[in-house]
Structures are given as C-alpha cells and as structure tokens.
C-alpha cells in the first residue's frame, strides 16, 4: 500500500496478522479508498476477541462538475453536451431536470445530452456541481471496515470525523475501557485522540 503513509496490522498471531494485512489491502483497493486514508493502524486480538482500526483521513476537496466529464457546445438555441464517461450521467440528468425541467432536457443516446431553451450560459452549465464523493465517504469507509473485520464481530462502535476515525468490532459486548485501547493505537500513529 504505497499511498498510505503508515499502515500496520498488530496481532498476537503472526500469520493471522499477515492475512489481515492482505485483506485490508485488497478491500481498500477494491473500494478505491487508498487515496482517502493517510495512516491506518489495525489491532486484532482473537482471544478477546476484538478488532480495532484507527486512522487519519486526507482532505478531500474533489467535487465533480459537468466540465470534468462533458464538453458543452452551444448551437442555435440548444446546448449539446458530449460525455466522455457515464459514471455521473444519472446525477447530472437529475440535476438538469430539477433546474431546467424535463421538457428542456433530452438524451438522444448514451453519451449525448441536449438542453433546449435554457437560461443558463454554457459556462454556468460547465460549473454545475453534479456529485460530491465525500458525502458517501463515511458510509464507504464503514462498509469497507465491516468487510475487513472478521464477520462474527457484529457489535461495533464507529467514530468518524473529517480528520480521523476509529472502528471497533467485537463478538462480545465492547469493553468499557476500549477508549484507552483506541487512544493507545492513535498514539502509535502520532495522533491525539
């Protein structure tokens, strides 16, 4: 995991720890979360049993605008948008329908959208925000850690903020002193809890 500044898996069972390092790597890679996490420390003790993941997050400022994936061409009262990829097509159409009304929006094929009689200038359309990936970031992170943690560990405690997060999972009731453990693990990555 080259893009993480710090990544450690701590486990009393050496082999088990190695496997979980691999699992974490695969899951974060699959969910495209490697660029979001800066530091990550995972502690697993199957004897207790408990799974603790603490880490810090990078600042994400990437909002998706129309200009990022479409060319806007004004021509004789209509504006033609030629899309290079359709990932954000659905949220973009939704936004157009809300702003201009369905009568003014037409989609002749997968990669073309036409706007008729709209008041907005091509520049304004280019700057329209269609998606904010950071909105679903916490949801994605929690889902990813649920995949990483052993499946039987169904009692969870998650704390996610813009800068850091902690994720605890266990099969038994989570111990009252778990915050001490979380603080210890945060200290290992140089963060004050």
């Amino acid at each position: 995991m080259a893009s993480l500044e710090y990544f450690e898996v701590e486990c009393p069972e050496r082999l088990g720890g190695e496997y979980y390092r691999q699992i974490t790597n695969d899951v974060l890679l699959d969910h495209n979360l490697l660029k979001v996490i800066e530091k990550l420390h995972i502690f697993i003790d199957p004897k207790v049993p408990v799974f603790v993941a603490v880490g810090t997050l990078r600042k994400i400022t990437t909002i998706v605008q129309v200009r990022d994936f479409a060319n806007v061409n004004p021509l004789e009262g209509k504006i033609t948008l030629v899309l290079s990829e359709e990932t954000y097509l659905a949220p973009m159409l939704k936004r157009f329908w809300e702003t201009f009304g369905k009568d003014h929006v037409e989609q002749p094929d997968r990669f073309t959208v036409m706007l008729y009689d709209v008041k907005a200038t091509p520049g304004e359309i280019e700057e329209m925000i269609v998606a904010d990936p950071s909105e679903s970031l916490f949801k994605d992170l929690i889902y990813a850690f649920r995949c990483i943690a052993p499946e039987g560990f169904r009692l969870r405690q998650e704390k996610f903020s813009r800068e850091k997060f902690s994720f605890v999972a266990s099969e038994n009731t989570i111990a009252e002193d778990i915050d001490t453990v979380i603080a210890e693990k945060f200290a290992l990555i140089g963060v004050k809890p």
Binding site: E13, L15, G16, Y19, Y20, Q22, I23, D26, V27, D30, I44, P46, K47, P49, C147, P150, E151, G152, F153, R154, E171, N172
Partner: protein, 312 residues
C-alpha cells in the same frame, strides 16, 4: 469389470459415437455438458477399455483424462453467505472442484462466523451428511478455529477436510480427534485465485479431496454396494421419464454410496422403490429410499453386499 471415473473432452461432431461406445462397453455417462462446439462427458468406463476409447476418440480430437472425483457429491461448507466468504474463497474452491468432475454444493451456515457464537443447526448437519465429503472453509485465526471446530463437526458423519489460515501442522495440533484431511494456509481472503501460487493451493485441496475419496472407495471395495449408483442412475433415467422434465443441471446426482433424485419425494418415492433392476429385484430391496433435507428431493442410499447378500 472395474469401472473408473474419467472425463472425455472433444468436439460436438460425432460425439454420439463415444457415448454409444461407452454404453456398449458397459460404462455410464454421469454428466454431459455441451459448451458451444465442445462436449464434456463425465463417465465411468471399464478400466481395460480406456485405451480403446482413446483410440476411437483420436480421429475426433477427443481426449480422455482421469477424473477421480466423478461420481462424488462434495459439500463446500462456507461459514456464511456474506461478502467476507463469497465469492472468494468459497466459490473459487467449489468451482475448481467442479471442473474435475465432482458435483459440488455450497452449504452456507446460518451461524457459522465468529468464535463463541458459531453454531451448526440440525438442518445444516443433515444436509452435510447427505454428501460424500465435506470441505470446511474456516478463517485465519487458530484461536477461533480451535474454539469453534468442535461445535461445527458435531454430528457430521462424512469425512471432513479442514481448510484454514494457519499452516497444516497448527491445524493438526489444534484439532482433536483429527480430521480426515487438512489443507493449511487457505483461510479467508478477498481476491480472486488467479496467481500461480494460489492455483497451486487449489490443486493441493483437490489432491487432499482425491486422497480421501480414494480411501473411501477402498473402504467401499471391501464391502461392495449391492448395485452401482451409476447403473441405478441409468435405470431411473430409463424407467422414470419424468426425470427428463427436471430443469436442474443434474437431475440425478451420483454419489459414492447412492444417488440424489431431484423429484418430489411424496409423489415419486413409491414408484421409485418399485422399479425392477433385474430378476424381480427392486430398488426398494437393495436401497433405502428416503426424503432428502435438500428441498423435497429423494435420497437413495444403496445397501452394501453384507446387508443384502447380493450384488447385481
């Protein structure tokens, strides 16, 4: 005449020559797959006639390979149906086993995951016991495996092959009484098995399954079954035309000691028992016809020679 399990792979053109030849030699086609222009036949053929089949198949570009797992039904026991265990490694292993002729079913436990909370209910136990072999796919931690394995093996009478993250020696050390087979370093993972070392691991699982299957076959050979399951399959196919209406890929699943008939028990059990095999001997005389715990299927358990005093 000893029947051995083999797989024939060849073109669809004139493949009926091979099917007829196998039947004329006294063999049985257990499964037939037609994939585009290719035919795969999983069959039992007389050992001494394999060379003859090879010779006749040569002009048709067909090849005959040994498939020790043909005619076995294997339960791949996954701890759950969650993303944690599926599609890797459970599906990878089930699919790999299928490629070399076994009929594999995935049995997923309702409360398989975890350490203290892991359990096996009576339906799961009975379904696993209806198979020839169970392959248990466990997790990565020896502590958890050691703790939960006694619960998960309770009541299981078929041979079990234990796969888990710790190495083989550790698995042997933490399990008592020992299992029939062990494959270490195959725990939970979340990537497709496509690298050579991962495929080697799958081959290792196959080798271990084959070893256990051969051992069971040797045990059966000491007290042979009253009738061969493959022969019963042919007979049921002939005498019970309704089986051709079943849309399942294998309406008749051959096992090592019997077969699974995928017809409703209530309607078909009595006519099935009454099917005559030879000289007035009926299926009901040499086998138990019982309801399966899997849907409403029928399970035919063939008695050994020592119980019926006859081999047909």
């Amino acid at each position: 005449m000893t029947l051995v399990p083999v797989t024939y792979k060849g073109g669809i053109y004139q493949h009926d020559i091979i099917v007829d030849l196998i039947e004329d030699l006294g063999g049985y086609v257990v499964q037939k797959h037609i994939i585009a222009a290719e035919v795969v036949l999983q069959c039992f053929v007389p050992r001494e006639d394999i060379e003859l089949i090879r010779t006749i198949a040569k002009p048709l570009f067909g090849e005959v390979t040994d498939s020790p797992l043909v005619g076995t039904e294997i339960a791949v026991v996954s701890m759950s149906l969650e993303i944690h265990h599926l599609p890797h490694p459970s599906c990878d292993i089930a699919e790999y086993v299928r490629r070399i002729g076994a009929k594999s079913n995935m049995v997923s436990l309702a409360r398989g995951p975890g350490k203290r909370i892991a359990g096996l209910n009576d339906e799961e136990r009975d379904v696993i016991n209806e198979h020839d072999i169970a392959v248990y796919l466990l997790g990565n931690f020896e502590t958890c495996i050691e703790y939960k394995v006694p619960t998960l093996r309770r009541g299981i009478e078929v041979p079990i092959i234990l796969c888990g993250g710790p190495d083989e020696e550790t698995l042997r050390r933490i399990t008592n009484p020992p299992f029939d087979g062990y494959v270490g370093n195959v725990g939970r993972f979340m990537r497709r098995t496509k690298e050579s070392d991962q495929l080697e691991k799958l081959d290792e699982i196959i080798a271990e399954i084959t070893r256990v299957v051969e051992k069971t076959r040797d045990a059966i050979a000491k007290d042979p079954l009253s009738v061969s399951p493959a022969r019963l399959m042919d007979l049921i196919r002939e005498k019970m035309p309704d089986i051709s209406l079943v849309t399942s890929p294998t309406p008749l699943t051959v096992q090592m000691r019997g077969l699974r008939v995928k017809l409703p028990y209530d309607r078909y059990a009595a006519p099935l028992r009454a099917i005559e095999i030879e000289d007035g001997i009926k299926i009901g005389d040499v086998a138990d016809v019982v309801p399966s715990r899997m849907r409403d299927y029928i399970l035919v358990k063939i008695h050994p020679f020592s119980e019926t005093n006859m081999v047909i």
